[in-house]
């Protein structure tokens, strides 16, 4: 227990999360910005109600639009590597916290008014982007540790090589099996998808797995037959090892997918948001 704590402490000293960057500097900044907006919203009296078209509404809207554009720039910024105060880590930290504060400021800008229109579409897309980003922060915080726990000390390449080695042994060990079973082993080796489709890979233990079916078939035969063939035993144990390795590989694929998948919502919705934001602003000034 104590050992593991000290390991953790050493790990955190070596690697500081972007969430804790510079002593939560950007968390404080975003919190102050949010508190300022909230205070203005509560104190300043707008008749007949708070709305985007009051001077406060326009101010909050301008801040929100500026934030959205700046937050989008992370996509460009991350392609250039710099250090120091404007490190990518600092930028990411600010991206996360200011992005969160945007959800409040834009809501206050709208004065909690929603409808089936382009304005609310922009708002909804913005919230989808923020929530998917929040999910991204969560997986970045949780998944890497689980990933290394899963792999042990092996790399993904070593895991795949281990499976290939087992497959070679299986091909030899399965030679004496009756055709019905050798065909299953062939399927297990050749038809088992290590990594499946982008969504399917989120399930690390699929039911329709040829390796699993082969194990079940061989086990059933061993149990049914009073005097099973000697060659069944080694094949089953090889298959079991293959299945354990498969689970590791698939978990690795699942974690990799989780780390990437949210970006497939976050990035396209950001572009949708910017389009809706342009339509929102142009329409407001068009019918000024």
């Amino acid at each position: 227990m104590r050992a593991s704590q000290s390991v953790q402490r050493r790990a955190s000293a070596r690697h500081e999360s972007f969430l804790k960057h510079a002593g939560y500097r950007y968390a404080w900044a975003a919190g102050a910005l949010s508190a300022f907006a909230l205070l203005a919203y509560v104190i300043i009296d707008i008749e007949p109600r708070h709305h985007g078209g009051s001077w406060l509404g326009y101010t909050l809207g301008a801040i929100s639009a500026g934030l959205i554009l700046w937050l989008t720039l992370l996509g460009l910024r991350k392609r250039a590597i710099t250090g120091g105060g404007w490190s990518l880590k600092g930028w990411t930290s600010a991206h996360v916290y200011l992005g969160l504060s945007l959800s409040l400021i834009a809501t206050l800008h709208a004065g909690f008014q929603v409808g089936w229109n382009i304005h609310t579409l922009a708002y909804v897309l913005m919230m989808i982007v923020i929530l998917s980003g929040l999910f991204g922060v969560y997986v970045y915080a949780v998944i890497p540790r689980r990933m290394s726990d899963n792999r042990g000390e092996t790399s993904s390449k070593e895991m795949l090589e281990a499976i290939a080695a087992i497959d070679r042994e299986l091909r030899i060990a399965a030679q004496p099996l009756p055709d019905a079973f050798s065909a299953r082993i062939k399927d297990a080796i050749e038809k088992t998808e290590l990594v499946r489709g982008p969504l399917a890979r989120l399930n690390a233990q699929p039911r329709s797995c040829p390796t699993r079916h082969a194990i079940l078939a061989l086990r059933a035969e061993i149990e049914a037959d009073a005097d099973p063939d000697d060659s069944f035993g080694p094949v089953v144990s090889l298959l079991e090892r293959r299945r354990a390795l498969l689970l590791r590989v698939r978990r690795y694929a699942r974690y990799k997918a989780l780390l990437e998948l949210w970006l497939y919502v976050h990035v396209p919705c950001t572009f949708g948001l910017i389009a809706a934001l342009i339509a929102h602003i142009v329409s407001v000034f068009y019918f000024w």
Binding site: I118, L121, Q175, P268, W288
Partner: protein, 651 residues
């Protein structure tokens, strides 16, 4: 017959290694089983896959030995095949192996076995990255981002813009409604929703803020708040922040003196109407310093800084339709003085005879000209009429129930009947509200009461004279019933003869004259309620002051009575029970309102803005709010250049 089996393995560097085995005929078993003559170690091969025989020299037959034991010859799967070795070696494929059979010089067979396909599809390390990445496994982020963005631009910007542009045809179709809905920034107020059928009705020019002329097109009768020049002078100098807001709004084409500066549309059903207190207070706080000649008191907050009410009162006798305004405090002070000076109303029910067209109550003090109070021309003490122990209550109780006065006597609502909106009251009418007691019946002949018509003194004089003359005529003609005739014979019955003809009429005229003067004299039917001026010549030309009862004492404020009828009575606000004079103004002081209302609802009071009671646009004055403002602007005024402008052009 012996067969030599050569297992050929091709190495990565191209070299071949060969392992040789022999098998005795006549048939050679091909399979994965370890005892096979041709041992093919691959799971694609059956345990016992095929059998090779040589039915005659130079001839080789290969046939499948199990259901799955397929053999490929010339790219086709067959169950069996026969080859003539004289033509060349037999070529066939089993699983991943190429088999080539030829005859040897010794009469035997040579079977070459070569693996042609590598061990299948094991994952290679160089593919690792690709395997685990989502990149390429799915739609790319970039493509979907562009697709979504362009779709939204097309549907959310281009489509509405083409449908709603000023020159676009008004189709009235669904596409236009969808386009308007997509861009609608908030619910249109109910006031506008029915009257306006398209965005362009108000938003006439793209990228130009709604102009006042557009509002005035429909709101033609809406009036200015006040004279624009005076309004200009009433404005305080803008502070730095206010100036920043104004100049920023100007920069974006939204001048702060537009109708839309106060009336913000698309904020719900009533959104366009409410106006912020700040808009009013901006000028009315400390306005008297900037507008020295104003009649209005400064107002900044209903609780803390609002002038006392100043009711608009009648001043009968001072002109055609004169009004005057008094401060409530002065009114209350003078009323208190009146009450302490006046004798308590006499209990004067004795002699008040219903139906005798007279009033024998006490003579109430009339409000002298110039005194603080309402000079409506009517004499009416509320206190006497509401006193539960007084004679009015006693008389009302004795009236026929059909009049509707119960045991309680008179209540407020017996005379003050709410109008349909339950905001104000229907006018007081003498016949309807007073005549049950204050009857104008002066006689009853043959059981038919004879009454004077109210409001016409000349007609009353003529009616009485005609009545007494006609009575004599009836008597002379013998049309008077005996009982009636007896009443009018002077002296003991039967002793005196009737007077001669002319004299009879003169006596009748004297009787009429007596009754007419009595009508207008103190304690007469008219005098009791009206201000009567007798004629100088002693004739019948009595002048009765017209009565001007006000239907609103605070015409510049809205006061709906209906919302105040929850648990409150009239007397909670109006001190009618102690009012001995019709000159008393029973509008309560602002303090009474302040017990429940406050500007911002502080201390648990009802939030009440300026607009809760006051309207912005004047009730009378100059229409067209834009014309004068435009003129001022043409002269060079801007909201920020007030001081310079007021000093130079509008001193």
């Amino acid at each position: 017959m012996t067969a030599t089996i050569r297992y050929v393995t091709r190495r990565a560097d191209g070299r071949e290694s060969v392992r040789t085995a022999t098998a005795a005929g006549p048939a050679y078993l091909v399979g994965r089983a370890s005892g096979s003559d041709v041992h093919l170690q691959d799971l694609a091969v059956g345990l016992l896959h095929a059998k090779i025989t040589a039915p005659s020299p130079g001839l080789v037959r290969v046939q499948s030995a199990s259901a799955a034991g397929r053999i490929m010859v010339d790219r086709r799967f067959v169950d069996q095949a026969q080859f003539d070795l004289a033509r060349g070696p037999a070529e066939l494929k089993i699983g991943p192996f190429d088999l080539s059979i030829r005859a040897t010089d010794g009469g035997g067979l040579q079977i070459d076995v070569a693996r042609v396909q590598p061990q299948s599809a094991d994952l290679r390390a160089d593919k690792v990255k690709k395997v685990f990445s989502l990149r390429g496994a799915w739609l790319s982020k970039r493509a979907s981002a562009w697709a979504l963005g362009l779709t939204i631009l097309l549907l959310g910007l281009t489509f509405p813009m083409t449908r709603l542009a000023p020159g676009a045809p008004v189709s009235g179709g669904a596409d236009r409604a969808i386009a308007e809905g997509l861009w609608l920034a908030g619910e249109t107020s109910h006031a506008h929703a029915g009257a306006i059928d398209s965005c362009g009705a108000c938003h006439k020019t793209p990228f130009v803020s709604v102009e006042d002329e557009t509002c005035v097109d429909c709101h033609q009768s809406t009036l200015h708040h006040a004279d624009p020049g005076r309004m200009l002078r009433a404005q305080p100098e803008a502070g730095p922040f206010q100036a920043f807001l104004i100049s920023t709004a100007e920069l974006f084409g939204k001048p702060s003196d537009r109708c839309t500066a106060c009336h913000t549309e698309h904020n719900g059903p009533d959104g366009v109407l409410p106006v912020a207190d700040m808009s009013c207070v901006g000028c009315h706080a400390g306005m008297s310093e900037r507008l020295a000649d104003t009649d209005l008191g400064d107002a900044a907050d209903f609780m803390a800084a609002h002038p006392e009410f100043r009711p608009t009162l009648s001043d009968v006798g001072a002109g055609p339709d004169p009004v005057r305004r008094w401060d409530i405090a002065a009114l209350e002070a003078q009323r208190a003085a009146r009450e302490s000076a006046a004798d308590a109303p006499a209990e004067a029910c004795d002699g008040f005879e219903i139906g005798q067209a007279n009033f024998r109550g006490y003579d109430p003090p009339l409000l002298p000209a110039g005194a603080a109070g309402d000079r409506s021309g009517l004499v009416f003490p509320h206190a006497v009429h509401l006193d539960k122990d007084g004679c009015v209550t006693a008389i009302a109780r004795d009236l026929d129930p059909s009049f509707g006065y119960g045991e309680e006597g008179l209540g407020c609502a017996d005379c003050h009947e709410a109008d349909e909106a339950r905001a104000l009251f229907r006018p007081i009418a003498m016949e309807r509200h007073c005549a049950a007691c204050h009857s104008l019946t002066f006689d009853t002949v043959n059981g038919v009461p004879r009454a004077l018509r109210h409001g016409t003194p000349e007609l009353a004089v003529a009616t009485l004279r005609d009545f007494y003359q006609a009575r004599v005529v009836n008597r002379v003609l013998g049309l008077t019933p005996a009982a009636e005739a007896e009443r009018f014979r002077p002296g003991p019955a039967g002793l005196r003869p009737p007077p001669p003809g002319r004299a009879v009429f003169r006596v009748a005229d004297q009787e009429a004259s007596r009754r007419i003067h009595g009508l207008f004299a103190p304690r007469g039917a008219c005098f009791g309620c009206h201000v009567v001026t007798p004629p100088a010549d002693g004739g019948f030309g009595y002048a009765v002051e017209p009565v001007r009862l006000r239907d609103q004492f605070l015409p510049a404020a809205r006061f709906p009575h209906a919302p105040h009828e929850t648990g409150m009575t009239c007397l909670d606000c109006h001190a009618a029970e102690t009012s001995a004079s019709a000159g008393d103004v029973l509008i309560p002081s602002i303090e009474t309102c302040q017990t429940c209302h406050a500007s911002d609802g502080r201390r648990g009071r009802i939030p009440s803005s300026c607009a809760s009671c006051h309207g912005y646009h004047a009730l009378e004055g100059q229409p067209a709010m834009s014309a004068e403002t435009s003129a001022l602007r043409a002269e060079g005024w801007t909201p920020l250049a007030r001081t310079a402008f007021v000093g130079a052009t509008h001193p």
